[in-house]
Symmetry: C2
Subunit: 276 residues, 2 copies
């Protein structure tokens, strides 16, 4: 297991952690903090265009783990699912244009009016099958992130690592998983599923589960402020072969999003060294 205690070169900042910043501001803040890697969201790329975005990141000397995020394959109509594929193809282009190591995907929830979660999962499977040749032709790996079951209805019908890995196995090369401790820590099968995921693990994300949690989306904690045994999960992920950067993604409407970005990054680094 890597020793992060004196070294945060493996730390990547997901832009949602300091979401008030635009891409240039994010890059500047990371350079000031000695952070070498980012995971920007698509709106930041789209705001300046792919080529300018790529230049901003390159000029700052930063690496990119993932472009965040596409997927969201589920829809009530064939036209809706086709529009999702078209948007995912644009996301592949954006990811390639900024030199991202992979494109992060979330599944999508139940289509409006539907109660058919198995059908939604089939739509995700079919959407990925359609997208995959395009992503492979662009040499852009797809990283499917299973989401916490509390998001199953509205964002992530792929609710477990095992579920995501099964889809990977069905579809073959070019597709892997991103493991976020927030979304998977509760899973009784986590140790064996991380081992099974092995080389399919394309990303590892951290934040923390707060007690109490007051919102299903935007009440995530800074590493160390909650109850997730992050080091233990990182140990499993690294034992499975993962050696790429660790993304910090914290949705926090009432705390971290209200703070000064330089302060947030400073604390991310401290906690990365002490509890990740």
């Amino acid at each position: 297991m890597r020793d992060f205690s004196q070294d945060h070169r493996a730390l990547a900042i997901n832009s949602a952690t300091v979401k008030a910043l635009n891409l240039q501001q994010l890059c500047d803040a990371c350079v000031r903090a000695g952070i070498t890697t980012i995971a920007p969201w698509r709106d930041q790329i789209q705001a300046v265009g792919i080529s300018t975005a790529g230049k901003i990141i390159k000029d700052a000397g930063l690496g990119v783990t993932s472009l965040v995020r596409a997927g969201l394959f589920t829809a009530a109509s064939e036209a809706g699912r086709k529009a999702a594929i078209d948007d995912n193809r644009r996301a592949v282009d954006e990811a390639a244009g900024i030199g991202a190591a992979n494109l992060l995907l979330i599944a999508g929830g139940l289509p409006p009016g539907s109660k058919d979660i198995a059908g939604a999962r089939q739509q995700v499977h079919d959407g990925l099958a359609t997208l995959l040749p395009y992503a492979k032709s662009a040499n852009m790996p797809l990283a499917l992130k299973p989401l916490h079951p509390m998001t199953a209805a509205d964002r992530g019908c792929v609710t477990t690592l095992g579920n995501a890995k099964d889809i990977c196995d069905e579809l073959g090369d070019g597709l892997g998983v991103a493991i976020d401790v927030y979304h998977v820590w509760w899973d009784p099968t986590l140790p064996q599923e991380i081992a099974r995921a092995g080389k399919r693990i394309l990303g590892f994300h951290v934040c923390d589960w707060l007690v109490p949690t007051t919102d299903l989306l935007t009440d995530r904690g800074m590493m160390g402020d909650g109850i997730i045994d992050i080091k233990s999960i990182r140990g499993m992920v690294e034992a499975a072969g993962y050696d790429a950067p660790v993304d910090v993604e914290i949705f926090s409407a009432n705390n971290w999003w209200k703070r000064d970005a330089d302060e947030v990054l400073r604390i991310c680094i401290e906690r990365f060294r002490s509890v990740v």
Copy 2:
């Protein structure tokens, strides 16, 4: 699969659905509504004492699915775990005293200060192993209810039906599972896990998952108001051999708990016949 469309004899009301009522009021309201079965919470029994509670229920002619709830085996100290066992023994006595078909258990969350969810699950296993001989001597089946992963930290570290069934298999007779659609609907392995649970299924509970859900505990929906395919899950549970009553348990601070109990029961019956 049983036909409930003209008949709600299989409907049981969990007292938390109409939580303003005391035991006598609950029984009276159920008799008025033509409801034959209840699942009272322990505080209602303790408020009048076991023998009076048993007499109130018997005089009303009502059956009891479960006494709700005990368990909560996890604690930071040996003394805390022993106190939990003692309390569970009292719950067995209460359940036997009111003629409940089983005693409903939830696991408990992480002990204060702990990040060891595997250790918490071991505490649940050990607590059940200690309690089981007492429950068997009282002929009182124990029904362990896996809870939604969003409750793992503070109430239910046993987060999946498969997890609960594994514990049952380790501990043998006298222990089974209660399946609540709210807690398990998101699980990609649900069909196979329900089939595997088979005759271990001691209870089946319904409410609905609302979109959006605004609170992790008290924002549950009336059957039909959310996105759970309740009939489909009931079909699986009955195919596995379940033929006992179906409990309605709705935690709803901002809606159903504010309404007149007779109205709530009337709508429970309507929805039981149409969407359960």
